[in-house]
Symmetry: C5
Subunit: 375 residues, 5 copies
């Protein structure tokens, strides 16, 4: 009877590890749960393509300058040394390295000289829990570095598009277009999550009236909390993408058109989140009204029972009194009547029927959920 | 008794088909439920007019340049090839084509070179459900392309105005005025919907006090959700029309005056939506208070019944005790009285009358909805 | 007992007549309930003054140019021809004429060449209902046209001020000052309405605790809905007056000082509306708490009654048992006691007193509204 | 028992007297409750100081030009003539005079030529009610005019600082610094009021759980209404002081630094008001939950009583049945048992104990406010 | 049973001591609870470092000019004279000194000539209470003055970083970088507090359903009030840090990059606070629903008991009536039946079983929290 409805997700945030107040900026300490660091490199031109697994950061130097677009995919952040070497190779600002390692950053875009640093959170559902994976991008000249907390298949379709010669535009474009493609993929990863929330809301809207229980209110609250969290992530993402569309030094005009489209998607995500959130709040109100309605029904049953049986009991009590019928003819003469007992039963029946009619007129019987209450 | 009030609409959104994260932008895949594509062409000058059903996109080329205004009406989006050919004929950006095909875009205005792309959602009530139909416009030179998800009669009055020589201004004006006329028609299609919501709110405000039931709260919630959805659609429409009124390259000054009027209508729509939404929220509160009031009445009946009959029952119980009246004159002497039974009944009556007066003074009788409670 | 509190107003909006989506802009169709059109003309200079009732629009031409200020007061909008002729005489834009006729415009200020068009809604209480009357002004050169839905005395004080030679500034000033005087009058017409709402709120705040009933919540809701409506009208009025204060082509510097004062009044109106609205929301909460309190009191009475009489009834029941007192001395020996009956009554009294002390300690007696509950 | 908690203030706004819509601007009509007008004059230079009570406005002329700073303190506004003469002497705009007289202005700063007009509302607690006193300042050249509704001691500390030669800066500074000192005094007069509200909130937060009653909710509502009113007054004050800090013609650079500090105080006031208001809203929620909790407790007592005594009553009823024990050995054989009565009492005791254990397990006993319920 | 959950903090604000309205700005009066004033001085260059405890302000003069960075750490504010001497030594504006002494300032940044004044509030948990410590910074040339209300270890890590030659950047940078390091430390001191609130919210979300009690709602309210307070502190901090990032006269470009990072942290803090606050509000709703659910369960038990035992009691009552069985065969013939008593008991049992089945079907039994209700 207490079947758990198929609640799609419950936020289980990993506890964030932050450096203590007062530690110098740029201090790199890896997260205890960090995954092992691996590096994939994809270098391509319109005509050519090469892919390598990188074990040693020095390997990368050989490719620099030789290819129009170089994509260095880092997954897993436990090897601080490698991150540090990459930072030195591409002269990344210490704060950039710190932001890459500390995996609970707000989404933002920072501009350093002629390089762009972009950090975002990508939501995914893992084991029925909503998890956020931080993904950072550095766009510097013809090089794109992407850093992911965990190895994931999120960017695999991009790799596919690069590999297929006919994939077209991505091979013909510069590194800024590759950055756009990665950002677009990250933004679009919100939509399947939103669809799951939408289904959960539909589910609760259907169930909340028929079978409200305390477990449900807790689940609705959990849903709202997740939406709150996603919204907290999505708003800075909006600002970040917006500032990218106004960036002129690193992003070309033709790519900016695509980023405007991407910005539109982020705004759409936020609008959906806001309207989901409001639906969640309404659900709690409906739940409360549902509870009140149920209590109302319980009270009606109690009142009907009491109203019918109390007067009947009083009648029975009266004829159970021990007045001395022999003392006077006024003392309980009914007791000696030939049809005294049937008369008493009839009186009780009349009381019961009378109250039933009263309740019927008040609309208390046959109310509730469209079925007559069986009394 | 549980008659369904004439709830005018319930949002039944078609599930949106979105391409998976990571697919390249501009990928055109038609919606599985898309209607078959048809093309109507209307070409006119102040003095001349011709209308054609277009089967082959190449037919259009012959008209280009020959007419001051060319309106190509596309309805139904299942034929990707035709859309593609139109895109090539008028050099549309791949993102424009993608936005035309993917029918759950936010309303927006995009400017590409000297062409304008406008996409909006038009609400309509179909089969007691609110449905949104995406309509896109492209304004490029003297050509206006309109794309509708479904064949609809929405733009028929415009065609009528073009056909009537005396329709005046539209025939004398350029393509930008035709665009305005189409946008104005789309914006004005919100008003009949809003009127339906307004009537539904009036209906609920009337019913919520007399006959609150759980079905009603669900319908009010449905109404609020629809309003939430419309609002989510209307806000970006406002931004889109606003940006049109500030557009100077493609829109002429005289048309801009009309667009300002149109912008005013959109703002009016949003204001009505917001105030409807607030009325919806208040309705839920009134519903809750109505339930509480009903429970209060039920409790009063129970309390009155219990308060009247319990003491009476106790009196009956006392005179039903079996104390040995022969043992002493202190034991239940009333039992032997000549008017013992009438005395007992009188005592009971006095108790009942006394409590009735008490309840009368508290205002518990004759309260509720203006009619005396029949006891 | 159910006296209707003196609720000052209930919004009864006339259903708006809007042209169907797709009709050309500037189409003039009079409202079916429109009043007959009358025209009054007031022409004045610092030294001279003339007033005429105008039957034929051509009469006006003779006055043009001859007077520094010409005020044409149109009341009632059913005569489309006259409106049209005025439109031609003063070369008004078709959209201006449409806005004048369609009486549910948002307040706005539009600038056409060197003429200003201002449309506002003036609230008034008619027959216990809030009604909004649309009033439009056109300021073009030395001419002010005012259009009112209904003949009303709203502008009569202005006419008085013009007639009195000593009225001073208005006679010495230009048409822009007359426009200001009219706008100021329209803005100030909100204050008496707000005062009525304020009184209604005071009334409800006083009554909601003593005598909450379902009628009241409905009235409070009606009040909130009216406030919502007024607010929806007042916000665009604010923007309109604000844009007037920044208008430099038609409004002189000295008049702008007065308009700033007028703008201040509009902002004040909005602030009062917002605070009224919040008080209305709080009232609903207090109402709910009042209902809960009443239910609490009812429950206490029920509980006290049940707690006192149930144990007493049990005592009576015990001494009504038929155990065979002759079978053994352990069977109901009290029945044979000399003071058995007084003992039983004493036991009952002790129980009643005991529970009363218990309830007294819990604060259930003598609670409520400061008067002891009579038991 | 119903002791009125020490609610510090209850807004008792004097009904505002506003001129009817349509009266010309600048019409001066004194408020019927206005206090008699008195004028104090303080003229000072770094080295010199003179103070006069002014009976005739013409007296002032003699001081003009002779002193670097002239402060004319007007208190009480019933003498329209004097106000008028002052207006003429210092060429004040008619709107300024109107704003000085009409005592329910929004706070604002207006600039006329080279004079500044500042109007604010100062809150004070008088006779347990919150009252707002309008105070206006005019700063024109070396003259500061201050107008107060009522004689008050608010500005006395400023006079003291002027009198004390060592008071320093104020004597060395120009009239703009005096204006700052007056504004700062008015702004700081909010803080003691806010502290009183803060104490009232603390008081209610403490009491709302232990002893919720309907009087309290009304007081909390009154508190919220007062906060709402103060907030309505404080927001425009913020804008006014902000515009002063950006005023460059009349305010010197060194004084502007002080005004920035003053602006900071106003923002602080608004932040405190907002957070007070939110605490007020929360209090209402807690009150409602407190009521619900109390009802829950009442219901538990009722349920415990009913559950214990109803079955006991049934047992007594059974052994009160009159079955003919002589007719068969199956009819109520207990009645003839030697220990029949003790057996029945034991059965009753067992039922009572059984239910007590049941309630104990459910946590219904010993709940509430940490003390065992005495049964 | 009433165990106090480990509520981490309860705001206990020290009552603020504010000067009376009208006192001159810059008046320095120490707080009665102020700690004794101590001064530490740290002077350093990339190669050299010296630390001194300062007893006499004149000692400082000797170091001025000789070191690139001079940090004067003042802790405790009871010695007004010392503060005054520092003010004179570094020519601080009287308002700066006043703000340093009056310990309830809003966070702000003020610019005076070429010096910057920064004042913030740092939260900490002391003795289970949230306390705010005001910390002020003055950055003037190569000197940083920091003023703390209480001696605290907050800045000790910075001293450590300065002492360690390898601490690097801080030793190589100018005073503006030291200011940044101090501000960053203050900002980061919010995060451990936020984590505590987060844990408290988790705790309440877990407990609110199982064991709601009135103490809990009070604690949740206290939590919300603390969050409200923190938010009131954090918003101006955001503005302050933001204005620092746009400061160009005193802050170098390289330090500004770090301040942008710091600004990001403040925004993050505010986002977390807002989402905590919303979770707090939801908790109150869930609490209310939990109470309602509990009452529902209580009501069900009462109704079941009454419904089962009332009819049984009536049956017992009927067979307790004293109709004269000898008067006619219609009078209570059951009393003489051989199996009359078993029949009556059977009837009672049937009634009980019947109602149990009825309740079972309604889902009233076996509901609640997943365990069968033992009846």
């Amino acid at each position: 009877m207490q079947k758990q409805p198929p609640r799609p997700s419950l936020l289980k945030l990993r506890r964030r590890r932050r450096s203590a107040p007062g530690t110098p900026p740029g201090t790199l300490v890896s997260h205890p749960d960090a995954s092992p660091t691996t590096i994939q490199m994809v270098a391509y031109s319109p005509d050519d393509l090469t892919e390598h697994a990188i074990a040693n950061v020095e390997q990368i130097s050989g490719f620099l300058g030789g290819w129009p677009v170089l994509w260095i995919r880092v997954a897993g952040l436990d090897n601080i040394d490698i991150i540090h070497q990459l930072g030195e190779l591409f002269s990344l600002h210490p704060l950039v390295l710190e932001d890459i390692i500390n995996v609970h950053q707000r989404s933002k875009v920072e501009e350093y000289d002629r390089s762009l640093f972009i950090v975002t959170q990508c939501p995914s559902i893992s084991n029925h829990h909503l998890v956020m994976e931080q993904t950072s991008l550095v766009l510097a000249g013809g090089v794109v570095l992407s850093f992911q907390e965990q190895p994931s298949s999120l960017f695999d379709p991009i790799v596919q598009r690069i590999r297929q010669r006919k994939g077209g535009r991505i091979r013909l474009s510069q590194a800024d277009y590759l950055s756009y493609a990665l950002i677009d993929t990250m933004v679009d990863s919100y939509f399947p999550i939103l669809d799951q929330f939408s289904e959960a809301l539909d589910h609760f809207e259907e169930k909340v009236i028929g079978q409200p229980d305390q477990v449900m209110i807790n689940q609705i609250h959990g849903l709202k909390r997740d939406l709150l969290h996603l919204r907290r992530i999505a708003w800075p993402l909006r600002d970040a993408v917006n500032s990218l569309t106004r960036e002129k030094a690193v992003i070309s005009d033709s790519t900016r058109v695509y980023l405007r489209d991407c910005y539109d998607h982020v705004v759409h995500i936020i609008e959906i989140l806001e309207s989901h959130r409001e639906r969640g709040s309404d659900l709690i109100n409906i739940y409360l009204s549902s509870i009140s309605n149920k209590m109302n029904e319980v009270m009606k049953v109690l009142t009907i029972i009491a109203t019918v049986f109390m007067p009947i009991g009083v009648v029975a009590g009266i004829y159970g009194m021990n007045f001395d019928v022999t003392a006077s003819p006024y003392n309980l003469p009914e007791l000696g009547w030939r049809f005294g007992y049937p008369f008493a039963l009839g009186l009780m029946g009349a009381i019961a029927v009378g109250f039933m009619i009263f309740f019927k007129r008040r609309g208390w019987l046959g109310g509730g959920k469209g079925r007559k209450e069986k009394l």
